[in-house]
Symmetry: C2
Subunit: 320 residues, 2 copies
Amino acid sequence: MDKQEEQFVKAYAPATVANVCCGFDVLGFALDAPGDEVWARKKETPGILISAVTGVEGLSADPTLNVIGVVAQKMLTDLNLEHGLELQLHKGMPVGSGLGSSAASSAAAAFAVNALLGNPFTTQELVVYAMEGERLASGSAHADNVAPSLLGGFVLVRGYDPLDVIPLGVPLDLYASVLYPQIELKTSLSRSILKQEIPLKKGIKQWGNLAGLMAGLLMKDYGLIRRSLHDEIFEPERSVLIPLFKQVKDAALKAGALGCGISGSGPSIFALSPSAEVAHDIKNAMEKVYAGSGIETKSYVSKVPEQGVRLVEQSIYQTV
Amino acid sequence: MDKQEEQFVKAYAPATVANVCCGFDVLGFALDAPGDEVWARKKETPGILISAVTGVEGLSADPTLNVIGVVAQKMLTDLNLEHGLELQLHKGMPVGSGLGSSAASSAAAAFAVNALLGNPFTTQELVVYAMEGERLASGSAHADNVAPSLLGGFVLVRGYDPLDVIPLGVPLDLYASVLYPQIELKTSLSRSILKQEIPLKKGIKQWGNLAGLMAGLLMKDYGLIRRSLHDEIFEPERSVLIPLFKQVKDAALKAGALGCGISGSGPSIFALSPSAEVAHDIKNAMEKVYAGSGIETKSYVSKVPEQGVRLVEQSIYQTV
């Protein structure tokens, strides 16, 4: 085998929390873990081959039906490359959890392929490619999970016309406690129960809080973040789909959370806090609510990290 | 006459722009001029006497019907003081212009009375007193004009329950060009034509832009400010009440404005820009649109100042 073909890269992209309370559809942040890994190498024949999908059951290895295939194919097409790619996906996080599972796979694929090809794109430019995975997974090419998974920290998606992604970084120490109650909750259901009209008064409260959250993050004011982390509109509509949501939220706030809400379109629940210790207390308090409920849970504590996606392995044998 | 009674102060409070495009009801900023002056001195007998109202026609000198009387009375009552106050108001700005005329008078009154009484309140605490003037003037004790008039720069009013006023300062050089077309436009009409329900999609665009504007201001990014200064919801509904609005806005943007919108509930139109020179070009371009229209205009150029209200004169004769 030609040594050129031995080149491979493996990228890791983390889970993300979108719809951060008042930041519905526009604000997301990265976790450090869990996350997905994508391994990639060139192959001489055209097209995408997904040679392995591990970590979860039931995901397709058909490159037109798996987000990593769709993302990689779009990159190959845009770069007008004739060779193909062999990809492997290792899922390190649950699917359908509201933690940006498809986004993590998409971001890892985009980053791995980009690295393999000599970085023709900046990480920011990879957002549009990773969004193709979201289009496949949910029917809508949204950016509020893939952007933080790629860019780390908090990311604002100001708008889509044209796409305007603003990394806010991590101006201050924030820790996330995340609890995933293992119920099935389709994004489409969670989306369909939202009313298509918002009362003006609630809208004003919501964007006042979002502006407060932005100011709190950028002015490094934990008190303001705490006062702003509310969702007047969507949480009341959606939380009915998540058993024990109210009790979990109360427990998180009582344990010291700055705020607590539904991650993405659920069912995961996240809380933010100013220290790792408090974040662990919150996780324990949240778990306690579900203990004995018959609902299995997974939970995570993570600093909101500066970095999102990254290479975790590569082996480059230069041909001479 | 006892020299103690000769003590007086005079405060100046500037005009303000509220409803800054996407920041409807939550974001306002101060101008340096125009503005109102309030002169105040103690009088031995209880109650408020407004001994002069100058600068405009038709404002009541009845202390229960003029915002400065209402603000001052509320302060006297809360401080449980037995003496009274003599006040004079000089309006340096038009009434009903959408530039926070009642707010400027209210802020100047609150600041003057506070100084006269030895500053029992911080300037931030004066916001709730000045809001009493707004309650009289418009029936609603809103803070988005009085807060920037008192605190200067940009001010976020995150919410009212409880009141949460966040001064953002002036992180970067911004200049405002303001044109007041002298038509009568009642706030009540301008308010009544707003729909009480917002389409979800427009809401998301609006708060994406507000979050972008906050990030632009705090991250000192003129480009982001420019991309964010839009109002998807209210401007289309309200601008029909302002003749030539569309043409003025086009002219302002063409002259280099970062953004342009309705000031408060109109009819004044404001534009923001990154330099005094551009701000003057914009003012000229806006004036040109109205030239020959039969509508009289007043226009102003002002840096968005760090300071809002201030003392402009005082005479303190200490008794010995």
